[in-house]
């Protein structure tokens, strides 16, 4: 068993010189994280893996983005789709900082309200949500008062 795991482990620790490692992503959310961060359109090197074994979370995913340090609004996005994620900031092959992402109390502008009849889906109104549940990412729209859940969340 140990032998089988080895190539995976090597991939996991294979170092980047500068950039950010997003670790402990729920395995099923890796592609969603790539999508919401627009990494599919990013020019520099990106390494990612999913369905990797994790002691803490069963199966996990990991994304390594070279020469990229995420802004707070981007970290909020990661937190919404991957609340268990850890960000590791790398400079000169060294870990500068490790932090858990955290969902804020309110989410503005980048999540779409699930309600097709919501005013935010018909007029030029930035969305605004109160976070009801930080583990399951349940968001209550400030306007129509409907709840957008993680499973039907789309981004603007």
């Amino acid at each position: 068993m140990e032998q089988d795991k080895k190539p995976v482990k090597e991939f996991v620790v294979s170092a980047i010189e500068n950039g950010t490692v997003i670790d402990h992503i729920p395995a099923q959310s890796v592609f969603q994280v790539i999508h919401i961060l627009n990494l599919d359109k990013y020019g520099n090197q990106i390494l990612f893996g999913t369905n990797l074994d994790s002691n803490k979370y069963g199966k996990k995913g990991i994304i390594k983005v070279t020469n990229k340090y995420f802004k707070p609004v981007e970290i909020n996005k990661i937190a919404l789709v991957a609340p268990t994620a850890t960000l590791i900031i790398i400079k000169d092959f060294r870990v500068i900082e490790k932090k858990k992402v955290e969902i804020p109390d309110t989410i503005e502008t980048f999540v779409q309200c699930v309600n097709p009849n919501c005013i935010t889906n018909h007029e030029d109104v930035p969305t605004k949500f109160k976070v009801l549940d930080k583990v399951d990412s349940r968001l209550k729209c400030t306007y129509c008062e409907k709840i957008t859940e993680k499973k039907n969340m789309t981004f603007r």
Binding site: N115, N117, C118, I119, E123, V125, C141, T142, C144, E145
Partner: protein
Amino acid sequence: MKNRSLISIDDFTKEEYFSVLDAAEQFERKPVQNILDGKVVATLFFEPSTRTRLSFESAVNYLGGKVIGFSDASSSSVKKGESLKDTILTVCNYSDLIVLRHPREGSARYASEVGTVPIVNAGDGANQHPTQCLLDLYSIRKTQGKLDNLDIAFVGDLKYGRTVHSLVIAMTNFNCRFHLVSPPELKLPSSVKMHIKEKNLEYYQYTDLSEVIPMADIIYMTRIQKERFSDPIDYEKVKNAYILNRSLLGNTKPNMKILHPLPRVNEINEDVDDLPQAYYFQQALNGLYVRQAILKIILGL
């Protein structure tokens, strides 16, 4: 509450509900008062709702104020593609308060953020209609002398009925028992039941209307619409099961009253109208006093 918008029933505390109901009582005693002299209230109805609009406009008129506005979006600049924001900002220049009815959910909250005068939500899609809820509370308090420790039966379409959802949530502030009577397809949504559970109150679900009649203090009737059923056969099966008529009302509590947000179609038989339990027309009249109270309080008069 002065200068605050009234958008959602949850924006206000129990004490604030009471201050509206108390002021409405004053207006019931003396509905004609010249307190809105020199004030302009705009009624912007982006979809028609004649009943609600007339009630607001009547409230303003009895208080000596003036009304501007439109009763239907097709007759306004909205038809030419003007945004809600622009309409609100324009009308804020010409009025002291805006009463807004709009088909999109969240429109009233948004209007209250962009506008410079208070907004009273007169219905935003299927979301909120707080003045209806307050007039329901007024009618319950007036007929029962209290709001707590009551047995309230809700009958008909409990799934889509906005007035039912708001009133159930408002009544969870008081120690009531909820009797929920509906066809299985139209049960109260779990998101609303959650409010009852959070307060540890009792609720019971029924499919048979006759079961709840003897125990109810209030029977709140709603209409079951054919469009709500995916299968027309399901509608045919239940359409006559939730109709109140005189013969069903032989054994009620002496204080029992029947409420209905109106308009009714056939869910309350006309042979009920003359019974002492029938309260729905008085309930609509109470809407006038409650709206007068809201105008007075928000305008700080």
